[in-house]
Symmetry: C2
Subunit: 100 residues, 2 copies
């Protein structure tokens, strides 16, 4: 969870996720939406990948990135539950006793 929150803390990385909602695409295709260098984008993608928010596969000389929808859904659920009732995963992650 910590890696996910950290990954989402950067505006460019959130934008990458939004861009990827249009479907999987290569690094250079993602890049045209930004005004950052390829090196910076590559770094952001690496962080998103380590947070398991995106998946990557190779097609020829390109890397095709796509959203990891499962993780995003789980994250969304955790957040919703946090807003509502304390959720186990979330609570445990923080090293707290669960209320129940």
């Amino acid at each position: 969870m910590d890696k996910i929150f950290k990954a989402l803390a950067d505006k460019n990385r959130r934008k990458i996720l939004t861009v990827l909602k249009n479907g999987e695409m290569s690094v250079s295709e993602i890049l045209v939406n930004f005004e950052i260098t390829q090196a910076t984008l590559s770094n952001h993608l690496s962080i998103l990948k380590k947070a398991n928010l995106v998946l990557c596969s190779i097609r020829g000389k390109q890397r095709i990135y796509r959203l990891n929808k499962e993780i995003l859904a789980t994250f969304g659920q955790n957040i919703s539950n946090f807003v509502g009732i304390l959720e186990k995963t979330f609570t445990q992650d923080l090293g707290l006793r669960n209320k129940n």
Copy 2:
């Protein structure tokens, strides 16, 4: 939105929110749940307050903090929508055209 994500990027701040789910409490009451100094906690609370995630009122010499449930609910909704369909607020925040 950016401030909220930044605020949530820190584990201690997320834990503060979780602690505050048990109800409003003073700074020193919050503090016993952590192994950080009062100065550090005060800084975290200030960041949460600026992100509008917590509210603060004064009672005698104490500051009583509590969750801002409205903001949390809105945030949860934005996340859910992000996982699902692109949500206006979120999209606009990133300076992207909305698909619709």
